[in-house]
């Protein structure tokens, strides 16, 4: 987990928006704008008043330096913040100063000068309930403001803002020197005597470690600011407020430091957010009507780095930022028993597609998916991951790699070979015919093409089981070496991406590039029948593989398709929802993602990953695999959906894999089918209706599993009986899962009919020990 610390520390989520960084007061413009949007004028005024101290003076002094910083300045025009601020002064009803209920503090601060900077500093410190004394010639408040603003404007503002505060005003001709205030026991002094005023030696002391004009003189710390140090207008006001905070920090920490009143931002705004709408102009001259102000507020982008929120499905689905997700993962993977600690990310960890998208779209390259994979690994190592989240696919992997389905052979007669076809276990499961056809086409071009049927190990990687993943990769590497280290040809972009990453020495290419070569299988010949407009759906694993992406497009055109664009998918190439296998841990998430992808275009899609094809079809999308268009093309005028055959069920997918192996062995090795497992002749026939088959498929329950339970009940007699319905019920644990069946004998010795199949994850324990006697049944 620690290797992600620096990476996540670079996150820009909390960076200030451009306007706020340029604003002398660093006002939270997005917050301000949000309140205006809602017509909450009092609240908007409060935001403005808290930022500026003296809102009327600020509105008169500020020349909106935020404007040029606004990214809309280069487009339709910067947000009219100055007009919005004035609207706030116009429309807020309650503009009374807030009275802060803070306990009084004993520390004493002197402010020399009652210009706008000194008063601003005094105001901040008064609000924190320090004891503040202002030294000014005469009792004249406002300093330079007398020369530039109407007195009633600023005098009223000063009076209003100090309404709940008390400070002592000393009428002095001049403060004779530092000793004068040191001797009076002040903890800090703020010197804001105006341009050319007395600096008490502070300007010469400028810099040093503290970073600005300040020094410590005995017990008393001295700071200079305002026009004395060159700040003018709004900057003098803002600087005074800033010094109030600086002095407060000094009094709390006793560390002399003078940070500049500057803010920088590393903010990066996603370009997709920019618009060209022009500013709303006030029809009534220089002040907005209420509705005009709200319309302008709606134009603001509320700048925020949020590429993750825009593009990463997990952030979108959970409404969480990567930093928050990081904290939740850190808490969840902390070693320890979960009774005593929170595990907020347990399900979230399993609801990611691991498609490395965040790193791709994020300006700081935050690797959210990398962290999530690491989190899964940590949970696996600690044996805290619920087994059920990945159990189905790990068993599926076992089957694909087992004797019934796995195969790795050079073709008959070839001792070694120059290339090998690795179709990926999912294509052979869903469309064994396509694997056969593609292999035949590859063999026709190159008779020494080996065939390599098995799983690439992705389920183990996605389950966070590093050991098992490494073992799968090692087997694959060894088998590839035994074949003579051939060029590996892939149909599945995910297998290909995984091997490129994990077995980098293995040369690889996609079959789509092979087929689309100038002399390739589909390059010659005239274009196929016109099929109308389609869009190619690129899988996340092909994000960086321009060659494969282009080849599939060439093949689609050859197959007679006109290609429309999937602009966003082509740009950010997101997962179809299958990757990382979230479907058991978080089915709502998997469906959410697939539906989003399906909704990007009205056009039917062409996929070249069978998992994408299946996920999109299940989300109701018209979608064909490119190999279907090439090797099993539906009639040109058939609508895609009705043309496509029904997706194979989980049961059929296993049978297809075994059947594919048998067929290929028979075809290319002249070997007889390995004898199918002998069916028990005495085993009863079991009938399963269509609806139940569909439900079992949705529940990922294999017919073989249901059959095994029925046979178990029949063999052991361990079952319950319902005299009213004539049905039997019983269960058996297979792997971790407990499977239940309800069935009924059909009349006339016609076998059995399956009525219900269901499963649960929890285990029934101690069932076979009853009244202290062990029952003779092996569940």
């Amino acid at each position: 987990m620690s290797e992600y610390k620096d990476n996540f520390d670079a996150c820009l989520q909390k960076e200030a928006p451009f306007c706020g960084a340029a604003c002398p007061f660093h006002m939270d413009v997005p917050d301000f704008v949000e309140k205006i949007r809602k017509g909450m004028w009092n609240a908007a005024f409060k935001v403005y008043r808290n930022a500026t101290g003296f809102p009327h003076i600020a509105a008169a002094l500020c020349h909106a330096p935020c404007g040029p910083a606004c990214p809309l300045a280069a487009r339709g025009g910067a947000i009219e913040t100055a007009l919005l601020e004035r609207a706030c002064l116009d429309f807020a009803k309650d503009k009374g100063a807030t009275s802060y209920n803070v306990p009084g503090k004993h520390r004493r601060i002197a402010v020399v000068g009652a210009g706008v900077s000194g008063l601003a500093c005094a105001l901040r410190l008064c609000a924190k309930k320090y004891s503040v004394e202002v030294f000014a010639r005469g009792t004249r408040l406002g300093g330079k403001l007398w020369e530039i603003l109407p007195p009633q404007l600023f005098l009223r503002d000063i009076e209003e803002q100090f309404q709940h505060e008390t400070y002592t005003l000393h009428d002095v001709v001049s403060v004779p020197g530092r000793d004068f205030l040191n001797a009076r026991g002040f903890d800090a002094v703020y010197v804001a005597t105006g341009a050319g005023g007395d600096d008490f030696g502070l300007l010469d002391a400028a810099g040093e470690e503290a970073g600005g004009p300040c020094l410590r003189d005995g017990h008393t710390a001295w700071f200079a600011g305002g026009a004395l140090i060159g700040d003018a207008g709004a900057y003098a006001l803002a600087g005074g407020l800033h010094m109030g905070t600086v002095i407060d920090n000094f009094l709390k920490t006793d560390k002399l430091s003078y940070p500049p009143n500057r803010a920088e931002t590393r903010m990066v705004l996603d370009a997709a957010r920019l618009t060209d709408a022009p500013p709303v102009l006030p029809r009534g001259g220089d002040r907005y009507a209420e509705e005009e102000a709200r319309a302008e507020a709606f134009r603001c982008l509320k700048c925020q780095c949020d590429a993750c929120r825009l593009y990463v499905d997990l952030c979108d689905f959970t409404g969480k930022w990567p930093l928050r997700i990081r904290d939740e993962i850190a808490a969840t993977t902390l070693p320890g028993v979960s009774e005593v600690k929170a595990t907020p990310a347990k399900r979230l960890l399993s609801a990611s597609n691991l498609a490395k998208l965040c790193r791709e779209v994020c300006p700081a390259e935050i690797d959210l998916e990398g962290l999530i994979l690491e989190g899964r690994r940590s949970m696996h190592r600690q044996d805290k991951a619920p087994w059920v989240f990945h159990d189905f696919w790990l068993r599926d992997m076992d089957f694909a790699d087992g004797p019934a389905a796995a195969l790795c052979r050079a073709p008959a007669g070839a001792a070694s070979c120059t290339q090998a076809f690795f179709p990926g276990c999912q294509l052979g499961a869903g469309d064994p015919g396509l694997v056969e056809a593609a292999y035949a086409a590859l063999l026709a071009r190159r008779p020494d093409t080996a065939l390599f049927l098995r799983c690439c190990g992705a389920p183990a990687e996605w389950a966070g089981d590093e050991e098992r993943h490494a073992a799968a990769l090692a087997e694959i590497r060894d088998a590839w070496r035994a074949l003579g280290e051939p060029l590996m040809l892939f149909a599945c972009p995910s297998c290909m991406e995984a091997f490129a990453r994990c077995i980098p020495e293995m040369p690889q290419r996609s079959i789509y590039e092979v087929f689309a070569e100038p002399e390739g299988v589909f390059a010659s010949g005239e274009a196929g029948a016109a099929r109308g407009e389609w869009a190619v759906f690129d899988p996340c694993a092909a994000r960086r593989d321009a060659g494969m992406r282009a080849a599939v497009r060439r093949l689609a055109v050859t197959a007679g398709c006109n290609l429309g664009m999937l602009a966003e998918q082509e740009r950010v190439t997101r997962c179809c929802g299958y990757g990382g296998q979230p479907a058991v841990a978080n089915p709502a998430y998997a469906a959410f993602v697939a539906e989003k992808r399906a909704a990007e275009s009205e056009l039917p899609y062409i996929a070249y990953c069978s998992n994408c094809r299946d996920a999109l079809r299940k989300a109701g999308k018209d979608c064909l695999h490119i190999l279907e268009l090439l090797f099993a093309p539906p009639a040109a005028d058939a609508p895609a959906r009705s043309a496509a055959p029904r997706l194979a069920t989980v049961t059929e997918r296993r049978r297809n894999r075994a059947g594919l192996k048998r067929a290929l062995l028979a075809k290319y090795r002249n070997e007889e089918d390995p004898a199918p497992p002998a069916e028990d002749a005495s085993a009863p026939q079991i009938r399963i209706g269509e609806a139940l088959l569909a439900q079992m498929d949705a529940d990922r329950i294999l017919e073989e599993e249901a059959r095994a339970v029925v046979l178990f009940c029949e063999r052991t007699g361990r079952r319950v009986y319902n005299a009213d319905s004539g049905a039997y019920g019983g269960y058996r644990k297979i792997g971790h899962m407990s499977y239940w069946v309800e069935y009924r004998p059909l009349g006339g010795g016609d076998g059995l009919e399956l009525l219900r199949v269901y499963a649960h994850r929890m285990e029934i324990t101690l069932e076979t020990v009853w009244n202290g006697i062990k029952q003779d049944v092996d569940l």
Binding site: R719, V720, H760, Q775
Partner: protein, 64 residues
């Protein structure tokens, strides 16, 4: 066909009854009433229970 109708243990030919039953999931054990044969202890979980209350408990434990 409703599973609320009377189920009997096919071996002992006695009616199933709600009795304490022990379950475990993700390293946690707990007891709950389920239909059992009073003679041999065989448990019967109807579909509604498996898909309903049991699934809820499973989900809660998966999140813990």
């Amino acid at each position: 066909m409703e599973s609320s109708k009377t189920w009997i243990c096919d071996r002992c030919k006695v009616e199933m009854q709600l009795m304490e039953t022990q379950f475990s999931y993700l390293k946690r054990s707990f007891r709950h009433k389920a239909l059992r044969c009073p003679a041999c202890g065989q448990v019967y979980i109807p579909e509604e229970l498996a898909r309903g209350r049991m699934r809820e408990v499973e989900k809660t434990l998966e999140d813990k």
